[in-house]
Amino acid sequence: MTNDRMTTYRTSCLPMAVCLAMLPSVASIQTSRQTIRMIQPRMVKIFGAGGIRGLHAYGTGFLVSPKGHIATVWSHVLDADSITVVLNDGRRFQARVLGAKPQLDLAVLKLQAENVELSYFDIEQTASVGPGTRILAFSNMFNVATGDEPVSVLHGVIAARTNLSTRRGTFEIPYDGPIYVVDAITNNSGAAGGVLTTQDGQLLAMIGKELRNARSNTWVNYAIPIGELKEAIKQITNGNFVAHKKKPDETEIPVRYHPLDFGLVMVPDVLYRTPAYVDSVLPNSQAARAGLRSDDLVLFVNDELIQSCRTLKVALGRLESGDALRLIVRRANQLVQIKMNVKK
């Protein structure tokens, strides 16, 4: 509140020295309009995969190096052969995913262009603030801006700094570290990968993915502090980050069994969370004998909730030979239990 009132104070030509004396920490405050002008050139619009109903094909990112590295959120938008990045001034480039850290919901892109003059955020110069701090949120929510049009700006305050308690069925994302919760409505299509800054333009956090509590149908407006992302961004941009060839949660744990080993053909894994539907069951396979059918939705593997094809693969990958395998699937509107043994 204070910062902006100061702005008003200054623009109304009242004695500025008085208020500066009372609040010495605001000496470097610029007006929010100056901040907006400063931040906009560092924001980019990202266009990639999606476009079918329910999945937007656009997102937001922010430049983190003079060489064209862009931090953004790890999402389906990046799952495309060609990713287009449009700068604030309308310049348009192709970009590729340099690396990603899905545990942080983070991806770093690199513009495929050399010797381009760019504004960028110095991620070493970030701030950490508490509740009540006024913020600005920059993102291309709803894809309102195209070409050289600047991204949308919202204002608000930090409502809380807390840990995101990701729980299955409530907030389903891999990240469970500290977050800022804000009262600006940042939880919108295409807003993820945007930034929160202070009123005077210090980088605070990256706006997170749309996140809904499935039980209460409420949405949380949150952002991941840059401090949490900084090391990963640096590692990826410096090239000393081991980029995951495969999806990380497949590589970090053993993959001893695949669905096919049981005779299960799952639906193509095209989304970040493709529901674990059985596409078909190989005839005479173990799954067929156990009674699985196509269109069954796998809900539990040995009491572990299965949210997607990916988590199913992970759950099956962890099995040891000789384990009992207990599946609960939804068939029409009924839950069906299936039991198998894991063979060698």
Binding site: M1, T2, D4, R5, M6, T8, Y9, L14, C19, M22, L23, T31, S32, R33, T35, I36, G51, A57, Y58, G90, L136, M141, F142, N143, V144, A145, T146, G147, D148, E149, P150, V151, S152, V153, L154, H155, A184, I185, T186, N188, S189, R212, W219
Partner: protein
């Protein structure tokens, strides 16, 4: 949602009174805000349909009761509506003019001549980050007509929102994070000083249902200013097209990719692949920008366009064509053709850009014209139904106001005989016009031009004048017979003369396919010139008046300056004028007039 806002506001109020360490500037700013809200709240209107469900918001802009709102608010409430002000008083109001494409409607509240009204701001001066207040009647909460106030910042400017399958295109609009919800439609967006900067009408609504999700859109007040006099004239106003479409080429330049050969802009020399440098005085760097500019002007407006053809820059003035055919602007056609419900999520989107703009009001325009039953008895005379008009009554008022300038010139009504003017053109040649009922003639030096009036085709006579002879004949009809002789005769609105001159009120007339526009200086209250076009899609004859002299008690110009197709044809200095009274057979001199 609303209750949460109220609670937060109250906590804020308690906190500020308890904590003494708060900077005085904060309190001052708060006081200023409170003062602004108190000052502007009386201008905010809650609009209700008479005896029916449906409502919206509006804002008063003049002491005599003119108020702005959204077209999609009035289209569902009919010609008369009830409007509540924050003093708790309910007023009758009548529709004045509508702009269906721009989603704007002008209404007039009745019963007072001292309505509190908002000052119009300058939306071109806004910057992203400026504070903005929205006021109105979201969720129909204001049963006592006290408007709800929400406060936020300008999130984006010059936004383009595609028509969501309806007529309602939001171009060059203002995006705010100020909370805009159903019922806010038509209500005002104010800047920090309490000046009106826009009319709220849309939001990006997606998964949350029809409530604010951080992106509201307002029609800029500067756009509405371009349309204001057209709306005051009771018209259904159309938007414009250039007759050419543009695209961005590989170098990022905005170039013409398609052009109508019968368009004026083609006749002025614009061709495919020419680069558009500036339009209406704003430089063009993107297709959206071009569309934004085009969409804020009404049909027929004349605008400057600078283009580059093979390195050579040209500046031209072009009169814009209508975006829709007039048949499309009539309510029945439109209703059956193009108005799907905007909230239909499965509707095919016109583009992947900005597909989310929706009107916050659930009710969709389904009725343009009121059932006769909703006309209140004591105000019935304030509504006159006529095709092409939202309320022809207001057009007649504007005609009367504009045409008072003609009375200054004297009474021409009896002078229906042969008219003749003679004098000198600038090259030194003598000229003489003769305007009779059988035909029209002009002699310049040894050259003779003739336009018969026996039903044969009208021609560009003299050649390259745009049909000067017929234009002068229409002047004679206009001065002698007025609206009685033309098949169409209406007040169009105001515009800068020739795209750059003084503000003029425009009367349009139509007779046997010949359209004329008659220009009256708003400030000087004078008849300053006219354009006559023989048929559509050809260049018109433009006649401007200079000086004034009196012939036989009637004021006429000293000079007629004639232009056509951006070129000067000639200036005629009038020296002798004869305006005969009697029919041609008996009219030899103007002395017969007694």
């Amino acid at each position: 949602m609303f209750y949460v806002i109220v609670v937060v506001t109250h906590i804020g109020a308690f906190a500020t009174s308890d904590v003494c360490a708060v900077d005085p500037a904060v309190f001052e700013a708060q006081q200023r805000r409170v003062a602004v809200v108190q000052r502007i709240a009386p201008t905010v209107v809650a609009i209700f349909a008479r005896g029916a469900a449906g409502s919206g918001s509006g804002v008063l802009i003049s002491a005599d009761g003119f108020a702005l709102t959204n077209f999609h608010v009035t289209s569902s409430v009919g010609a008369f509506m009830k409007c509540g002000l924050n003093d708790g008083v309910l007023h009758d109001a009548v529709i004045v003019g509508i702009d269906p494409t721009g989603d704007v409607a002008l209404i007039k509240l009745l019963g007072r001549d001292d309505f509190p009204h908002a000052k119009l701001g300058d939306s071109d001066k806004l910057q992203v980050g400026n504070w903005a207040y929205a006021m109105g009647n979201p969720f129909m909460l204001a049963t006592n007509f006290q408007p709800t106030v929400t406060f936020g910042i300008i999130s984006g400017l010059h936004r383009y929102q595609y028509p969501t399958g309806t007529f309602l295109e939001y171009a060059d609009c203002i995006q705010v994070d100020t909370s805009i919800n159903p019922g806010n439609s038509g209500g005002p967006l104010f800047n920090e000083a309490g000046e009106l900067i826009g009319i709220n009408g849309r939001g990006s609504f997606e998964k949350r249902g029809r409530v604010n999700s951080g992106a509201g859109y307002a029609i800029s007040i500067n756009q509405i200013k371009h349309f204001m006099d057209c709306l005051r004239g009771g018209r259904i106003v159309d938007h414009a097209t250039l007759g050419a479409t543009v695209t961005e080429n590989v170098e990022g330049l905005v170039v013409v990719d398609n052009i109508l050969e019968q368009s004026e802009v083609y006749r002025r020399g614009l061709r495919v692949d020419d680069e558009i440098v500036s339009f209406a005085g704003r430089s063009i760097r993107s297709v959206n920008q071009f569309k934004n500019i085009l969409a804020i002007y009404p049909k027929y407006r004349k605008l400057p366009l600078v283009y580059r053809n093979e390195g050579k820059k040209e500046k031209i003035y072009v009169r814009l064509r209508g975006l829709h055919r007039s048949s499309e602007m009539t309510p029945q056609r439109r209703r059956s053709r193009t108005i799907p419900k905007p909230e239909d999520p499965d509707r095919k989107k016109p583009s992947n850009k900005n597909p989310n703009g929706k009107d916050p009001d659930r009710k969709q325009p389904n009725r343009f014209f009121p059932a006769a039953s909703n006309l209140p008895e004591n105000h019935k005379h304030l509504y006159v139904k006529k095709e092409g008009f939202a309320n022809y009554y207001f057009n007649t008022l504007e005609q009367q106001r504009t045409l008072t300038a003609l009375k200054e010139l004297g009474d021409f009504s009896q002078r229906i005989g042969i008219w003749s003017f003679s004098g000198t053109i600038q090259a030194g040649y003598k000229f003489e016009f003769t305007l009779a009922d059988k035909g029209l003639g002009l002699e310049i030096g040894d050259d003779v031009y003739f336009q018969p009036l026996d039903g044969s085709n009208f021609t560009d006579e003299p050649e390259r004048s745009g049909g000067l002879l017929l234009a002068l004949y229409h002047l004679k009809l206009f001065l002698t017979r007025g609206d009685a002789v033309f098949t169409e005769f209406y007040y169009l609105g105001s515009e800068p003369l020739d795209g750059h001159g003084e503000k003029v009120d425009v009367i349009v007339t139509l007779l046997t396919g010949v359209e004329s526009r008659w220009y009256f200086s708003r400030k000087r209250k004078m008849f300053v010139g006219f354009d006559t076009r023989l048929e559509s899609d050809i260049d018109e004859c433009e006649i401007r008046f200079a000086g004034s002299q009196t012939f036989d008690g009637r004021k006429l110009p000293q000079q007629l300056i004639v232009r056509c197709a951006n070129r000067k044809f000639a200036s005629f200095d009038l020296e002798t004028v004869n305006l005969a009274v009697a029919p041609p057979k008996s009219s030899r001199t103007d002395r017969n007039d007694q």
